[in-house]
Subunit: 206 residues, 2 copies
């Protein structure tokens, strides 16, 4: 049984749950209390030296980290990865964009405003992060005005990666009402077979 070490409200962890559900792969979860520093213990770092969630245990003692690498591991050879070489690279382009130009702004603003509080002295940094988050959303809006999904003409891992924090961006004070193409794309993502919501509980393994 696949074990997902996670913080349930995290978009990075949600990505993994969403794909595993869509692939009908059974898994169980272990909650990691990030606020209590549970990802920074020696025990956790022995599983994942990068000390972050999600971390998956594929088989006893075999761990994989980084949400988008986990998506690639499970997605390989499935309809969620384009068969064309360039489109496969295009999917990765948007997944690296997500981690470099989107997550540090959209997700961190949400984490501070909705879960952990703004760290002392970081009020101005929050404003900068919101500004850069809007820049990422602007880029997404431009793309989604031209195509229905980010790579290969259909729903792929790139859409899972970008949907995770985009659809809850309002929890980081972003106004998605400015972005009609993003809102339409969110509907298309939610209409995919096997979709689950970020707040959905993980069913107990049967």
């Amino acid at each position: 049984m696949i074990k997902l070490y996670q913080f349930h409200p995290s978009g990075n962890c949600y990505k993994v749950r969403l794909l595993l559900h869509q692939l009908s792969l059974p898994f169980e979860t272990r909650e990691v209390d990030l606020a209590a520093g549970e990802a920074r213990t020696a025990e956790f770092k022995a599983m994942n030296p990068i000390a972050k969630t999600p971390t998956v245990e594929l088989s006893p003692g075999v761990f994989l980290a980084e949400s988008n690498a986990i998506l690639c591991y499970f997605g390989e050879g499935t309809p969620y990865v384009p068969t064309d070489r360039l489109e496969r690279a295009r999917m990765l382009q948007w997944m690296f964009f997500e981690q470099y130009s989107h997550e540090p702004y959209v997700a961190v603003a949400r984490a501070w405003l909705s879960f952990f509080g703004i760290p002392p002295g970081k009020e101005r940094e929050l404003e900068e992060r919101i500004q850069k988050g809007y820049a990422a959303l602007d880029i997404m809006e431009g793309e989604l005005s031209k195509r229905p999904f980010f790579a290969g003409g259909h729903y792929s891992l790139a859409d899972i990666a970008l949907y995770a924090y985009t659809h809850v961006a309002h929890e980081g004070r972003f106004d998605l009402g400015r972005y009609p193409a993003i809102l339409d794309w969110c509907e298309r993502v939610r209409a995919q077979p096997g979709h689950v919501r970020i707040t959905d509980a993980v069913p107990s393994p049967r």
Copy 2:
């Protein structure tokens, strides 16, 4: 002929030159003046909406962005990508680590200190970035104390991605003397066939 739109001293751009050299794929370069905002022009954004270097033009009008996605495109099916599924995901794990936990600190400190200057009011942020850069180097040191390369037991795209900014980290005020395993790994990377240095000029296409 592959065209690489680049800022030569950028580690992200160097990654692409290094792999293309090692694969004996001929290419030509166009320098993008980042300080003059050339990556933010409408002309450049039409090629790459993310507005960053490197951007490659694979064939006339066909562009690919994000350094690590470009590595995956050219590396696929070559000895620089492990054949084992888990090791391939492990390679991606370290490439996403590079973009999320290493580049924003090690590369940005170097960019500010060696190329563009510290932006006004960012002195304290620089210190934070150096601290987080050391955290990334600590994680690398831990891994490289246990294995010669990051994935699959041999040199892969993950090593190219992490070498690019690590080996010039001193230009961002990082003291690599603290990291014997990283220094040994840098020697192993430099010993790979077809290695070129970040300062090496691109030969004119024949």
